[in-house]
């Protein structure tokens, strides 16, 4: 795998994150250093191991499907300026 500016740009695009030119350069170096340390994990056999999605085992919990109290409109929109007539406002699609 080649770690270069193109890779960082590709990952940044997927991550929805604009980067400045100098940031791209420094992240190339960080990727190289950090992934070298992480590559250690590739050397251990893991064929018969389960994925531990959580460190402790949980059982599914079910509840009755009933209507409960939720946030009111004022609370839902309290933390944004981007609102109009009971909707959130986003950029134009067309």
């Amino acid at each position: 795998m080649k770690i270069d500016k193109e890779l960082i740009e590709r990952v940044a695009k997927v991550s929805r994150l604009n980067l400045k030119e100098e940031e791209k350069e420094s992240f190339v170096k960080d990727f190289k250093d950090v992934l070298e340390v992480f590559s250690k994990i590739g050397k251990v056999k893991t064929d018969n191991l389960d994925l531990s999605v959580q460190p402790v085992k949980f059982e599914n919990v079910f509840r009755e499907d009933k209507v409960e109290k939720s946030l009111n409109e004022k609370e839902v929109f309290k933390n944004t300026e981007l609102k109009e007539k009971g909707f959130f406002k986003g950029p134009k699609i067309l």
């Binding site: 795998m1 890779l7 960082i8 990952v11 940044a12 997927v14 991550s15 929805r16 994150l17 604009n18 980067l19 400045k20 940031e23 992240f27 960080d30 990727f31 250093d33 950090v34 992934l35 340390v37 992480f38 250690k40 994990i41 590739g42 251990v44 893991t46 191991l49 389960d50 994925l51 531990s52 999605v53 959580q54 460190p55 402790v56 949980f58 919990v61 509840r63 946030l71 609370e75 839902v76 309290k78 933390n79 944004t80 300026e81 981007l82 959130f88 406002k89 986003g90 950029p91 134009k92 699609i93």
Partner: protein
Amino acid sequence: MKTREFLQEAKDLNKKYNFFITINEKAEDGIPISVKDNICTKGLKTTAGSRILENYEPVFDATVIEKAKKSKYVVVGKTGMDEFGFGSFSTNCAYEIPKNPLDNTRSCGGSSGGGAGYTYASKLSNSSIGESTGGSISCPAAFCSVVGITPTYGLVSRYGLIDYANSLDKIGTFGKSVKDAVKLLNVISGYDEKDSTSIKKGKENYEKYLGKDIKKFKVGVIKEFSNGEGINLEVEKDFWDGVKKLESNGVKCKEVSFKLSDLVLPVYYVIAMCEASTNLAKYCGIRYGMTKELKGTFNEYFSSVRESYFGKEAKRRILLGTFMRMAGYRDAYYIKALKLRSLITQEYKKLFKEFDVLLTPTMPILPPKFSEIEKLNPVENYMCDILTTGPNLSGLPMISVPVKKNRAVGMHFIADHLQENKIISIGDYYERVR
């Protein structure tokens, strides 16, 4: 306690040490506690140390806050931390950086640095609510010479916690003493139907594990984490003096090997970054948090907001975490790490068949000076977490107790899942005999 007393003290301390991002001017009378700034408090700014949440005022309380309020605790303020918990020194904070009350040229540790520092320095507040993903309670507890309890994953509800890594995050407590930390743990622990990873079990009174005689305990001192390379000489000496104190008071300690010691750190960081990168996807500058002028397409708008308001370490972790989950790399990093976590947890479980408690120093170094932290590269930064990431990865309960009063070195006791009783009893015993 009267509001004006503890608010005045908090303000005075803040001028000197920057423990708080926000002080709660609306606090009423009660038992004062501080709360890490990634835990939602109704009507009180909650930034998680990030610019992107600079203006965020939750409209609800986290479950731990609800519980604390019911027990007459009041929130003095929201404490300084690394952005979203991304760091070990609280220096990756978008606001003022908390300074260590033992020596203000040094770090409080991280990521719950402000809470640990305030717990040490305040004469009016004895405990604090913190949160740990890979060591963010133990590390600052050691560096600020207070007690830090990180409970078993799922013992304390995460409802209302601003996630860093869902399978690793645990809310816990700081205290001036083991008793102080335990009292607050009693209040905030317990099943919560609002958190799907909350452990379903009856409420336990942890105070009953204080004052116990634990001479029958077998303590395993993990060799790889307690000697030699990577461990500061002063830390090593202090730690082994602590082990001798335990032994001379009748506790059996034996050195034991942890075979996967060199895997713990990379496995932790792979999982933590992968989960962090998905969690941070929700910050897109529309429904809450910082916004900008609406320009361009949705993707262009999101990418611009995130560029402006995330700090460097957050960007680094988003990129690395996203990369390690991308097609072609996912199996080699994320899936591999999840499998290795199973192996590491099995290794701990094997040791807990022989030992009640495992022991290491909490941190391999003394609190570094800010001038030293500036020089560290990312890998050197991450390496500082070598001792705390293991038990955090496996969701084990742990306690950090100062090796001596006012000394910035911690004894780190670790037990099997849901054996809070053991870490509390031995932590308390150590506090009495040290």
